[in-house]
Symmetry: D2
Subunit: 467 residues, 4 copies
C-alpha cells in the first residue's frame, strides 16, 4: 500500500537521563515511520524548559548545536504525519503553554471525537486557541481543572475527552504518560540502564537506545514519573478495549511489539492464513515493497513457492522530488520501483500487499508489470476490504475515496487488471493477530465503531473555521 493513511504520530518521553534531548532525538528517529511532516523536542532541567520544533524529518529539524541548546534530564518529543497538502509549523508538537507560573507541554498521538463540542464550550467560556490541534483542547481542559491539583486536574480533563489518545506530557519536574481507556494507540514503558525511564509509541524506540521493555502503559492509565518515582492513577475503565488493527497491519515497524504481539510474526501469519484460503498455480511470490514484504515471506513459505524481490526500490527517493512533465508522467511511479524484467518476463506471479485504499498506485504498478511481459498477476491483500473511515487517528480520507466502499471485489480486479484478487477473511485476520476480537478496533473493515460519534466531526471543520 502506498503511504495513504497518513494521520498518525509518534511520541516519546525520557525521565532521568542527563542527555534527555539526545535520547529523544534517537527515539524519534526510530519512530520516524509514524510521522515525517514535523518534529519537536521539549526538555526540562527541572527548572527551565527549552523547546525546538520544525517542519521536516528528525535529522532535518535537529542538529548537534540545536540539541546542545536543549539541556536537561526530562524530555518529550513528537513526530507528526506527512500530508501531501497544506500544513503548518503552528500545528507542530509538542505544544507548550504557560499557566500559573508553570510550563506545560504535551505531545499527542490519536484523534478526539468530541473535539468540536469541547472546543466550542471552552471558547464560549473565553478560551482562545492558537492551533487546530486536539492536543490544545486537552491542555485547556487541564488548565481549567488545575484548581483540583496537577494530577487530579489532568484526570478530570481526560475524563471529558472522548476518542483515541496516547499522550506524553511534561511539567518542569514531571514526565507524564497517558492512554485512553480503549487503548486505541500503542504506548509502552521502558527502563534505561542508568535507572531512567522511557515512554514510547513502539518498542523499536526502546531497542535503539538500549532500554529494556517493562510493560505497556495500560488503557486508562495516567502514569507520573518524577523524583519520587512512578505512580499511576486510572480513568474509569471503558466497556472494552479496542486496539487499532491497522497499527499491526500497516503502521508499526515489524521489529516492534505492540498490543502484546510482535508485528513481524503477525504479518507472516497473515501470509500463512492467505495461503490456507487461496490456492494459486504460480512461478513465484513477491511483495509490493516494502509494505507487503513480511506477508509475502509468510505466504511463500506456507504455499511452498519461491520468494523473490521482483520490483527494486530506489533507496534515494526522498520528498523533494521534481514533478515529471506531462510527457514524463509515468516516471513518477518508476522512480520508486523498477521491475526486474529478466526475472519476471513470461512468469505467473503472486503479489502480496497489505491493503488497497484507492487503488491508483497499485494500478500503475500492475501496468508496469504487464508492459514487461508478466504472464499472470494474482494479487493477495492481507486484510478484508477496507470500507469504512476511521475517526480515531488514521486518515483514510472520506468514505468516497475508499475503492472497496463503492466497488465489488470483481470490479476492483478489473480496475486493477489482475488475473485474480483475494482479500484475507476477517477470521483469517483474527487468527493471525492472536488477539480476541472484542479487544480490537476493526471498524474500518466492519463499521462497528467502539465509541460513538456525537456529530460528524472532521479535521476539515476546524481547518475551515479555525485555521
Amino acid at each position: 500500500m502506498q503511504r495513504f493513511p497518513r494521520e498518525n504520530c509518534g511520541i516519546f518521553g525520557v525521565y532521568g537521563h542527563p542527555e534527555a534531548s539526545k535520547l529523544t532525538y534517537f527515539g524519534l528517529y526510530a519512530l520516524q515511520h509514524r510521522g515525517q511532516e514535523s518534529a519537536g523536542i521539549v526538555v526540562s532541567d527541572g527548572k527551565e524548559i527549552h523547546e525546538h520544533k520544525g517542519m521536516g524529518l528528525v535529522p532535518e529539524v535537529f542538529d548537534e548545536s540545536i540539541l546542545n541548546s536543549l539541556p536537561g534530564h526530562i524530555a518529550i518529543g513528537h513526530v507528526r504525519y506527512s500530508t501531501t497538502g497544506f500544513s503548518l509549523l503552528r500545528n507542530a508538537q509538542p505544544f507548550v503553554v504557560y499557566h500559573l507560573g508553570m510550563t506545560l507541554a504535551i505531545a499527542h498521538n490519536g484523534n478526539l471525537i468530541n473535539a468540536y463540542d469541547l472546543r466550542k464550550q471552552l471558547e464560549e467560556d473565553g478560551a482562545i486557541f492558537q492551533s487546530t490541534m486536539d492536543s490544545e483542547i486537552i491542555i485547556h481542559l487541564w488548565a481549567h481543572y488545575f484548581y483540583l491539583g496537577m494530577e487530579e486536574g489532568l484526570a478530570k480533563a481526560l475524563s471529558k475527552v472522548k476518542g483515541a489518545y496516547s499522550l506524553v506530557l511534561m511539567t518542569e519536574d514531571t514526565l507524564i504518560a497517558a492512554r485512553d481507556p480503549n487503548g486505541f494507540r500503542p504506548l509502552c514503558l521502558g527502563k534505561l540502564k542508568n535507572g531512567g525511564y522511557i515512554i514510547a509509541s513502539e518498542t523499536c524506540a526502546l531497542d535503539l537506545i538500549e532500554a529494556k521493555y517493562i510493560r505497556d502503559v495500560e488503557p486508562g492509565e495516567i502514569l507520573f514519573i518524577n523524583d519520587k518515582g512512578l505512580h499511576s492513577i486510572y480513568l474509569p475503565p471503558a466497556p472494552r478495549h479496542s486496539h487499532c488493527i491497522f497499527e499491526l497491519i500497516y503502521f508499526a515497524r515489524p521489529d516492534s511489539r505492540i498490543f502484546g504481539r510482535n508485528v513481524y510474526l503477525f504479518r507472516k501469519a497473515q501470509g500463512e492464513e492467505l495461503a490456507k484460503e487461496t490456492k494459486i498455480e504460480a512461478d513465484l511470490v513477491m511483495p509490493f515493497p516494502d509494505s507487503g514484504n513480511y506477508v509475502a515471506i509468510g505466504y511463500a513459505q506456507a504455499a511452498n513457492l519461491p520468494f523473490e524481490i521482483g520490483m527494486i526500490r530506489n533507496h534515494y527517493v526522498g520528498r523533494t522530488f521534481i514533478q515529471p512533465s506531462p510527457t514524463m508522467r509515468d516516471f513518477g511511479v518508476k522512480i520508486k520501483l523498477n521491475p526486474v524484467k529478466e526475472l519476471l518476463k513470461d512468469k505467473r506471479i503472486v503479489i502480496l500487499e497489505d491493503s488497497i485504499i484507492r487503488g491508483t498506485t497499485c494500478r500503475s504498478r500492475i501496468k508496469t508489470l504487464r508492459e514487461i511481459g508478466v504472464k499472470e498477476i494474482h494479487l493477495l491483500v492481507s486484510c478484508p476490504p477496507h470500507c469504512f473511515p476511521c475517526y480515531y487517528g488514521i486518515d483514510f480520507s472520506s468514505k468516497g475515496e475508499l475503492i472497496a466502499a463503492s466497488k465489488s471485489i470483481e470490479e476492483i480486479r478489473k480496475f486493477l487488471n489482475l488475473d485474480s484478487l483475494h482479500y484475507l477473511s476477517m477470521d483469517g485476520l483474527l487468527r493471525a493477530s492472536d488477539i480476541p476480537k472484542q479487544q480490537l478496533c476493526l471498524a474500518c473493515f466492519n463499521g462497528e465503531y467502539p465509541i460513538l460519534l456525537e456529530r460528524e466531526f472532521s479535521k476539515t471543520w476546524l481547518e475551515r473555521h479555525g485555521a
Copy 2:
C-alpha cells in the same frame, strides 16, 4: 547614541487595497528603524486569514513568493525591536488566535504596566498563554468580554489595561486601530488614492506608499474600518496626554511628523537651543552619525560654525558581524565609524549626540578621536541627563545602567575624556518641541510618571516565570 533603548515596535495596517500584504511589506520597510528583530504580516480576503512571521529584517522574512501566498485586501503588520540577547519567534507579532469561529489578530507597540496582575488573574480563571507578550493579555481580555459584542468587548478589554499601547487589530472583515488614552506612542491614519485606508506608526510609511496623511488616531480612540466605512468609539479620557518625548528625540524618522511636529525641524531646534545655552570656541561641528546629524546641523547654523561629517559610517555593517578576537577588540568600533584624520587632526571640535545612556560606546569613539590627534573635544547632548527608567515601552534597562543616574555631569565628562560636556536644559527641550509640557511624558528625565505602577513590573519577571 548607540542603539541602546531598544524596546519599541512599528505597526501598520491596510484596509481596502487588493495587494494589502505588499503594501504592508512596503509600510514595514519604512518602519524598519522601529524594530529589526522580527517581522510579520497577517492578511485577510474577507473570509480567510493567512499569516507569515519570521526573525530578521523585513526583506529577510518576506520574498515575492511569500507575499503572493498572502492574498487579501485587509492586512496588519509588525516589526519588533532588536535585542542583543535571547529572543524568540514565539514572541513575534502579529499574534493570531482562534475564538468562536473567528480569527483575531493583533500587533502592538508599547508596554502595559499592569500586565502581571492581569495575566495572573486570567490564568487563575483557566487561561493559558503561549508567549510572554503583553499583546496576548489584550486578546485574552477581548475574548473574555466578547459576549458584549466585538466592539464593546474590545472597549471593555482596553479599559482594563494600563500603560502605553498603539494597536492595529484585525478580524476576517475589519481593521481596527486603537491608542491608549495618554497617547504615549504615535499612530496615524492615511488614505490611499484608491480610497483605501492606512494605519501606521509614523507618517514616513504613508509617504512611501503615496497615502495622504489624514489625522492621528486620537488618544483613547478605537477606530473600526470595514465595508460600512469608518467609525470610532472612545475610552474614558486620561487626566492628561503624555506623548513620549523620546520618540521625537530618538526613535522616529526625521521625515515623519508625530504628535503634530516634524521630527527633523524639532531636532534642528534642539541644536539651536543648545547654541543659545552654550558658547564654545571651536573649528568645526560634527555629529556622531547618524543620531546627531540634525541636531548638529541646527547647532552649526545657529553657532555659525562649519558643519562636517567627521566620522565616516560603513554602510555595509550588518547584523551578522564576526566578533573580533581579543587582540582585535577595537575593530568593532572602527568597523562602523572611521574618523577622517586629515580633517580632524589638531582641531577643536564640537560633537552633537542625541543622548547618553551608558556612555561606553561614546567613550570608545572619543578615544579613537584622541588617537588621531584631535585637539579639543566638546560634547553637546540634545536633552537633559537621562536618570529614570521607562515603563512605557523604551527599554533603557534598569536604572543601574543609566550613567546619569549615578554620576554627575563632571564625572561623566571625565569618564568620557572630554574637554567639556553640556546637556540641553529641560526648558530648551520643551521650547524645541513646541508642545505644552503637560502633554508630554518626560519621566525618563524628571521621574514624573504619568501612570503609576501598581508593582515593580519588568519584562524580566515574565521571562523568569513564564518563558
Copy 3:
C-alpha cells in the same frame, strides 16, 4: 557489506530531447546509488551552455527552478561517490572549460593510472589545473591535440590515457560517449521514443525514462551523436577485456543489465553456488540488508531453507545524522538495523553478505544478534576473500585495511565471532557470472592486474601535492 568501496560514479547523457536537463535529472536519480556526494548537469541548446553543480543528493542539488534555468536538447550529468571525509565542490563534475571559442564539458567514471605522469608533463608545458580530478587531465590533453580536429584530437588524447574510464563529453552541438579499451566500467546506449539518444552507466536509468536499450558502448569506442546522427571511431584494442566483477557483485542495481548479464540473476546464482559449496544445518536464512538480499534468496531456494528479513532497516536514516555520545556508541549501528528478537531468538541462522572489507560493521552486527540470543550464526560471503587493492576506480583503501589481506579465514571467523564462515570460490563466482574469466577483472581477488601501474599512484598524492 557496508558502503565502504566508495569511489565510483554515475554518468548520463541525452541528445535530442527538448527537456534534456529534466531527463538527466531523472537519469541521475536512477543512478544515485553510484554516487551521493555531488551532482551536476550541463546542458546545451546548440549554442549556449548552462551548468549547475552542487554537493548532495540529486534532489538536494536540483529543484524545479534550477532545471528550468537549464534549457536545451543536449545534456550530460554526473553523480559522484560519497566519502566520509573531506570533499569539494571544486571536484564536482561535469567539468566545464572554455577553449578556442568552444565550451567543452566532461563527466567521468573510473580512474586513470598514469594521471600523475600526464599531469606533470602537462604542467611542465605550462598548463594550470583547477582541481585534482583525472577528468581535467583528459580535457587538457584534448585541448592539446585540438589542432588535429575535435574528433581526432579526442582519440589522440584518450590514446595517451591508461586506466578505467567511461565518459560522456559534450560540446555546444555534440554528445560524445567513450569507454576505455578494457571496458572496466559499464556504459550503455539507449533510444528515446521521440528518436533521441541516451547514454547511461546502467540500464536502470533507461528503464526509468522509458528509453529502449540498444547496446553497450563498446570497449575502445568513441561515439559521436549530433545532428548528422551517430558515428564511432575506435581506439586501438586492448589485449583483453576486463569488466569489473565488483560492479556485478556490489555496485550495480539488481534491475540493471551490465556486461550482458542481469545483476539480480547473477546474485541469485551466487547464492545457488554457495549452496552447492556448503552444507549447513539451520533454521532460517537472512541477508545483511540490502546488499545480501538477492544472494540470500538464491541460497535459501537452493538450500531449501526459509528466507527471512531478520534485521529491519530504518528507511529514514539519512546523511545528516547526529553522532552519538560516547555513552550512546552502539546506537549508530542500531539506528540503521534492528534485529527482530521474536523471530531470531534461539535460532540457528545463515547470513548472506556480498563482501567483507574491513569487517568492523559486520562484527557489530553479529554482536547485536548474539545479544538477543541467536543460537548459531553462519556467515556466507558471495565472493572469494578480498586481498588486493583496486586501481581502476573502486576505493577499497590501502591493502592494510583489507581484513582478508592479513588474516586467515579462521582468524576472520574468530574476529567476527561466528560459528562458521564460508567464502564463495573463484570457480563458483565465475559460474555465477556466466562471463569468460579472461573478460573479467578479478584483480581484487587474485592480484592479476589487467593494466600495469607505472608507479604507485594514489589519490593521496594529488591531494598532498595538488589540492
Copy 4:
C-alpha cells in the same frame, strides 16, 4: 549619482599575522563599498592553502566557523562589484590554480585591454580556461613563464599585459603585490603592530585593523613579502602616470587617502570650486545622499548657505528587495530616499551630486521634490560632463547610455526638469585634486586614453564567446 559605474573591486593581503583570514575579513569589510557581488579569501599556513568564496556581502559569505577553517599567516582577499544582471560564482575571486606542485592565487582590481588577444594566443597553444576573468589570463602567463623562476616569470607575464591592474598574489609562502606602470587603481602598503604587512586597495582598510600606512605600492612595482622580508622588482616605466580621477570623485571612501590625496578634503574642494564658478540665490544646500554629501558641505561653506539633509535615507534598504507592482512603481525610489516636506516646501534649493551617468534616477528624485512643492531646484555636478566610456575598469556601460554623450547641458537640464544645471569645469576639478593633470586619467571627460586599445574589447565579447 546612483550606483551605476559598477565594475570595480577591492583587494587585500596580509603577511605575518596568526589570524590572517580574520584580518582579511575585516579588511574586506572596510572595502565592501568597492564590490558587493562576491567575496573570497585564500589563506596559507606556509604549506597548505585553503579558500572560501561565495556570492554576497562579506558577512553573508563568511561566518565564524568558515573563518576558523581558514588557518594561516598569509592571506589574500577580494570583493567584486555588484551587477544588476547575471553573474557567477565561477567568476568570483581570488582565483586559485595548481601548477607544478605549487598553489597560486590571484586577486585583481582593474581591467586589461589586450585580454582578447592574449587569451586567443594562449588557447591556440593549448590552454583551457575556466572563467571569463582577466585574472585567469595573468595566471596562465605566469605559468607559461614559470621556467624563468617565480619572480622573473611574473615580471615577464605582467610585461605582456596592458591595461589597469592592482593585484595581490600568493603562493604557499609568499605574498605579492603588483600595480600597473600607469598606476590606474590605488594600492597601498601598511604595517601591523606585530610587524606583519598589509596590502590594501584603500587606506580605510588599514585604519580599521590598526595598521600604519607606509606608502603606496608604486606604479610598475612588483613587491614580494616572505620570511626573508620585502623586496621589489620593477616593470619598465610607463611614459606617464594616469591615476583614475573617478576613484577620487566617486569610488573611494572619504576617509581614505589615495594617490596622495585625502578623499574627503578633495570632495570638499570640489564644492568650493563649484561655489567659485556659480552664483545661485537659494535658501538651502543639500546633497543627493550619500554621494554628494562632502561636495555639498564644501559648497555650503564656501557659498555661505545653510547645509541640510533634505532627503532621508532608509538605512535598511538591502539587496533582497521586492519589486513593486506596476501600480506601485514609484515606491522603488521612495523606499531609499524620502524628502522632508516641512523643510523643503516653497524653498529654493541647491542640490549637489557627484556625477550624472544616465540621468534616470536623478530625474525621479527631482520629480519627488517637485511633488512636495519645492520652489526652485538648482543642480550642481562636481565634475565635467561625462562623455566617454572607460576601458580600465569602470563600467559606465556603452557610450550610448551616457546622457552627456548625446545631449547638451541645456537638454539635460530640461530632461531633469531643473531650474538650473551646472557642471564643475575641468580646471576646477584639477585645482580640487591638487594632482598634476599629466598624472591623472581624465579619459571619461576628455577622451584622451592613456593606453591605446588594440581592438574594441568589451566584457560582452567574452561573455558571448566564452561564458
